[in-house]
Symmetry: C2
Subunit: 340 residues, 2 copies
């Protein structure tokens, strides 16, 4: 089943069931008005929505309309919990290497995770509003799952069964604000502005055997200013699977239904020391910081700049037939100024 949320002027938007080919959609007010409502009562309501989904794919839904990705909110326009792991430890090791810091060996067994703002996500095609280019604006292409209720202390194996939906994320980061924030010891806060998610969230059965071991084994495509920037496979070099990330999040507290858990920036080592750009025949990167770190390690300083006002980032995933699974995150960075 594929689900999306259309902008209807309300804070939680309008839930729609979307056809597998992303061409049509239909509201299901008789089942749920919003995605959170569906998640709140998933056991009972998801099978009803699934029936509509099957009819929609068969062309048997009379009031279906064209599905327009640009009218989408993030599937959950606001959520009660958004925690992002760093499951691709290669990415973490690179960050450290670029500043000549050793990575503690425990990072291979104990996931890094931070909690992000979830009260004001932006839509997949919404502008990324930032006050200053000096903040070091970067995209981060990631995979995320939405969970059902999760009991405190759950095992990683049991946690896998609590995954309801999968999405893509652009976890925008303000790299220039990170050093000061991490230096204070309390983690990210201002350096992580509003994230956006793919137009469509899908159930695991939509991913067939590409979903395996609680990882999604397909390339994540990042296109930066119309140039292919990254296509690493999200199933490769993912040290912690989503079951482990959820179990980590739930170690000392339960998780409420609708919790979003992110993978961290998708990153492949590619048999080289730290990956290779697409222009050099590699799979490239899912954020600018990685290429800057490689430049730093190689040349002593970075040469690729962070995003400028007007820059565009597109993040998408295709199935082997070239069909978009989740629709595309497609955003432009714009200058923000406060208006009273």
């Amino acid at each position: 089943m594929k689900l999306a949320t259309l902008n209807n002027g309300h804070r939680d938007g309008q839930l729609v069931v979307v056809s597998r080919d992303l061409q049509h959609c239909v509201t299901i007010p008789q089942i749920a008005m919003t995605l959170q409502q569906l998640l709140d009562d998933w056991q009972q309501k998801a099978p009803q929505a699934e029936e509509i989904y099957q009819a929609l794919n068969a062309g048997d839904v009379a009031d279906a309309v064209a599905f327009e990705q640009q009218h989408c909110e993030s599937p959950l326009p606001r959520a009660f919990h958004w925690a992002d792991g760093s499951a691709y430890v290669n990415h973490v090791e690179l960050v450290r290497k670029a500043r000549n810091a050793e990575m503690p060996p425990s990072f291979w067994t104990d996931p890094l995770m931070y909690q992000g703002g979830s009260d004001a996500f932006i839509g997949p095609c919404a502008p990324i509003e930032v006050s200053s280019e000096d903040f070091g604006i970067d995209f981060e292409g990631e995979i995320a799952v939405i969970t059902d209720d999760v009991a405190m202390g759950i095992s990683a194996e049991k946690a896998r069964e609590r995954i309801r939906l999968v999405m893509l994320v652009n976890d925008v980061s303000l790299r220039g604000l990170i050093p000061n924030e991490l230096g204070k010891g309390f983690g990210f806060y201002q350096s992580k502005p509003s994230s956006s998610f793919s137009p469509v969230a899908v159930t695991l059965d939509e991913l067939s055997d590409h979903w395996n071991d609680a990882r999604l084994h397909l390339p994540l495509l990042s296109t930066y200013n119309d140039v292919a920037f990254g296509k690493p496979n999200a199933g490769i070099d993912m040290t912690f699977d989503f079951g482990q990330l959820i179990a980590h999040a739930a170690r000392t507290r339960p998780l409420g239904t609708g919790t979003i858990i992110g993978s961290g920036t998708v990153s492949n080592k590619q048999g080289t020391e730290y990956g290779t750009a697409i222009s050099e025949g590699g799979v490239g990167y899912s954020c600018i910081a990685e290429i800057r770190m490689i430049e730093t390690i190689r040349d002593g300083k970075p040469s690729t700049s962070f995003m400028r006002f007007g820059d565009r980032i597109r993040i998408e995933m295709l199935d082997p037939q070239g069909q978009s699974i989740f629709g595309a995150i497609d955003q432009q960075v714009v200058e923000y100024s406060y208006k009273a």
Copy 2:
């Protein structure tokens, strides 16, 4: 106006208007079923709820019933954003001092803030479930505000006008897990289990001139196992007012209505170097960690232990007439074990 949420078996509970003396309450389904619904449309709905509140105080509401604090959820049983500042810098300085670390001078001008889990708050009288006493279980008595929508980049002065409600918090901390987590550099996550809030949230006019300069100038009473443990004045030594904390939170992203911003552990210097226990004639502390830090500085090691299973903590605030303003957080620590 005073508002609370009763446990009715639904995830967001049942909003009630509570009389000023906390004796009676009434549901307002014609206005809003839940507190989040009221906040989502505050401008229109709050005046309607206020009318009912006035009638309730006058004894003119026929279907009013007895208000039972023990049936309360936290006012928002789940919220879209819970960020906690460390506005009482004395507390932060003490932590550092106890481990012989200098506090950076910037901590007096740039607030520390972390984001906590908001998808599964527990009720004000709910047990604090923890897997092991070795986690170093501590309470933290704090003040929190609930905001309306806040625009990115708002000034501290303008931010004050976005405060809708005030509550008390018990921001439970697992001290034993903090060093490892902060050592990883991403801030708190597992070391901050579910928080609980006072039974009642109140509008600013309920606090009369005790609310001044976006601070609440009354003693916060912590009673630990039936012994008075702390009574510091929340208006004293609060380096950052709530306007500054909200502006900090909103520097790079907007805040959605229903965002909860906490003050951090209330702590007074009391003219001594680091405060004095109530048994010594001082105002005491709002968490166990502070007395342990003072013991460490004074004796070389702490002698007070963290909370044990069975321990109770009560957090409350009285007006000058001795009337409870928010009702009481009153919780017992219990052992948790995962059941599949």
